[in-house]
Amino acid sequence: MKLSFQLAFRNLIGAGLRTWLIVGILTFTFLVILFYNGLLDGWNLQAKRDAINWEFGYGQFQHKDYDPYDPFSLQNAHGVFDARNAQGLTPLLMRPASIFPNGRMLSVTLKGLPKNQRQLKIPVDRLDKQEGAIPVAIGKRMAKTAKLSLGDEISLRWRDKNGTFDAENVKVAAIFNTTISTVDQGQIWMRLEDLWRITGMNNEATIMIADQPMPDTSFKDWNYVNQEKLLQNINNVIEIERASARIIYFILLAIALLAIFDTQVLSVFRRQKEIGTYIALGMTKNEVTGLFTLEGSMYSLFSMFLGTLIGVPLFGYLSQKGISFGAFTADMGIGMGDRIYPSFSPSLLVSSALIVIISATIVSFIPARKIVTMNPIDALKGKLQ
């Protein structure tokens, strides 16, 4: 075995340029597969983490009238909650309202979060009481849509619990940057305490966000929606991306393997004298087949080595620094950050490496099988068979 290994190694090194070309291609393929998968995993993780941090928490109790896709449902979707039973729940109240940038009416959802909450990353803690105007936080996209910048004041019109119009200037005290467009576009955030005061809806909420997973329950007007269900959309999108990614690297791998296969065919064809010599020196045909197969799969070992040399620093760097895709804003039902940080899990590394090695071994073995059927004497003479 050791001999075969040494022989295979020498043969490959001896083949020079072509070996390195194949190894290069295989390394490239291996790295691309890793990169692509790592990118998807990173995106997936990040999208979920952002969705959890900015919007969903670990599950939500939603008011029975609340329908996230029907803005009109907000009118009635609110109820008093009992603070004693709401341990670990962060109340969020939503009210329809309007603002008037450039004299055009823009319908918005007014959202209130407790000022000392830590559940969501919405910066309500940065909303300190200011002179006159109520401080609010808006997202970057909203700031762009409504043409608002930090410190701007704008008239906000809403109705209190009795339906009486109220209007006051609000001041943009924080602009946050999030990948989650549903907490950004068309949303104005203020402290729950302020929202309670201006609407007269003390102790009311539309949804309550859990800080840890809870059993599926519902009580009174509140229905529990678990995290998995809230994240469904992201899972769907990632699954599609995964399917198309699989096709891409299947093709990449196939073409790299084709190069190995073809080289193996050539080797068996060209090196008949050598094969004959091995047999004459006492190797069995199976051992020779094994030697040739080993040579083929050694391409993959070389490329693992080279891949590690290039990949470890490169991917280490990328997963630290992330890759910029700009603020991709189109709403595909999933957030995409300014930077995606690829994530390379051990299972990803091992499974990708195994796929490359095993498939390289298989395609090396197929042409080498021909050796078994060779006539050793003809082979030794170098007669083309």
């Binding site: 072509r18 290069g24 896709y69 029907d70 068309g186 399917a243 198309s244 891409i248 190069a259």
Partner: protein
């Protein structure tokens, strides 16, 4: 000389057929797969183009300013002449009009009373005219869960979950209720011809798809449209051409002070798609590199085999007194010819395949349990200009290189040993 070699190639089938077949196959494979992967890499950008941004989009300046609000009161008017201007000045693109709108859908019960109401997100496209390509572009046929595409302007497709919520069945009538572009109230009855599922909750729960003629009538937007989208005929976004077009179009209207004057936006400048596009392009460049590299190895091997097979012939030719240099040159020339022929055939076949995949794609919906139609489940190739020449790199260069390497053997040969070879 070339004529002589050419005759040789044609007459000696064993010398030509196999390498040409292999090269053709290799080259066409390279082209098809490169095109396919370029397409697959840009799928998300492409998806955005088809649903939202177009390859270029024309909106009124005021509409563009407020486009998130779907401000149809600021929409383009006089669209007929604008469209014919665009069609005659930019014939490389297909120009289609779309209107996005909001409103309410009200489902009547048997007595005409409301049995359900819900907010609707409307998209009006050219549903009835197949030549607009819109149905295909938005993947609507595949998105249909029940029923069928509308045949008439008074028929509509609505989101599957929306239909369930309003307890609507195929063939039921539903009333749209909203405001016209002038702000007047407007009502319109539609017959539900089918329900759709795009896999994006916001759409499935509230979408209504209409033919643009119905929307114009309903929203009092005669000869108007919220947006005009331009798509390159080959379906592939051409950044350079789009930017040039944007420039020339907007420059002509620069001095026009009208806030409703049309303005053109490229895909790159919308939704911050630029960076994603750059990423996709560099990824596909890497893929092409891998293909060309791998195919080069394969064809180099073919060249080697081709050269090796002819050792005997070279032996005889040397023995007959031909100079080594001449034999070598003729070998390389022959390889070049074979490489050219193979590459030409392969590029031809490859382009046909790439175009086929660009038009029809490969459906991966079966690989996905919960398919979301907004995301492309049909992977398509993208025929880019570089497909026309990249095949020649492995096809000609690798082939010639392989032959050159195997031909080096010619110089190593001693005339004396040639007869040895002849015996065997």
């Amino acid at each position: 000389m070339i004529k002589f070699l050419f005759k040789g190639i044609i007459r000696d089938k064993s010398r030509s057929i196999l390498p040409i077949v292999v090269i053709s196959l290799g080259v066409s494979l390279t082209i098809v797969l490169s095109g396919f992967l370029s397409g697959a890499m840009t799928d998300m950008v492409d998806q955005n183009a088809r649903f939202e941004t177009g390859h270029v989009k024309v909106m009124s300046r005021a509409y563009a300013e407020n486009k998130e609000q779907l401000p149809n009161d600021l929409a383009l008017l006089g669209v007929d002449s604008l469209i014919s201007y665009l069609r005659s000045n930019y014939p490389d693109l297909q120009w289609v009009e779309r209107i996005r709108f909001g409103g309410l859908l009200d489902a009547p019960d048997a007595d005409g009373e409301s049995k359900g109401q819900g907010p609707a997100a409307g998209i009006a496209i050219n549903l009835l005219d197949a030549s607009s390509g819109e149905v295909e572009r938005m993947n609507i046929e595949r998105a249909i869960v029940s029923g069928a595409l509308p045949d008439y302007a008074n028929e509509a497709l609505i989101g599957d979950e929306f239909a369930k919520k309003l307890k609507l069945n195929i063939g039921d009538e539903v009333t749209y209720f909203g405001t016209t572009m002038n702000g007047s109230m407007t009502f319109q009855n539609f017959t539900i011809s089918g329900t759709i599922r795009f896999g994006i909750a916001a759409m499935d729960k509230g979408a209504i798809l209409l033919d643009i003629s119905a929307a114009r009538q309903m929203l009092d937007m005669q000869n108007g449209a919220g947006e005009i989208l331009g798509f390159f005929h080959n379906g592939v976004y051409n950044d350079k051409a789009a930017l040039a077009m944007e420039n020339s179009f907007n420059n002509q209207l620069k001095s026009n002070p009208d806030e409703y004057a049309p303005q053109m936006f490229t895909l790159r400048s919308q939704n911050n798609l630029g960076d994603l596009l750059d990423y996709a392009n560099s990824m596909s460049a890497i893929f092409v590199l891998i293909f060309v590299g791998a195919m080069s190895v394969v064809l180099w091997n073919t060249g080697l085999i081709g050269g090796l097979r002819r050792y005997q012939e070279f032996g005889i030719r040397l023995a007959l007194g031909e100079s080594k240099g001449k034999i070598y040159r003729s070998l390389v020339m022959e390889a070049t010819l074979i490489g050219m022929i193979g590459s030409l055939i392969g590029t031809g076949i490859g382009l046909v395949g790439a175009f086929y995949l660009q038009n029809y794609g490969i459906n991966i919906a079966g690989m996905v349990d919960n398919s979301s139609m907004m995301m492309p489940t049909v992977m398509r190739a993208k025929v880019t200009p570089n497909l026309y020449y990249i095949g020649f790199i492995p096809g000609v260069f690798a082939m010639v290189f392989g032959n050159m390497l195997s031909g080096i053997g010619i110089y190593k040969r001693e005339t004396a040993s040639l007869f040895n070879e002849l015996e065997v």
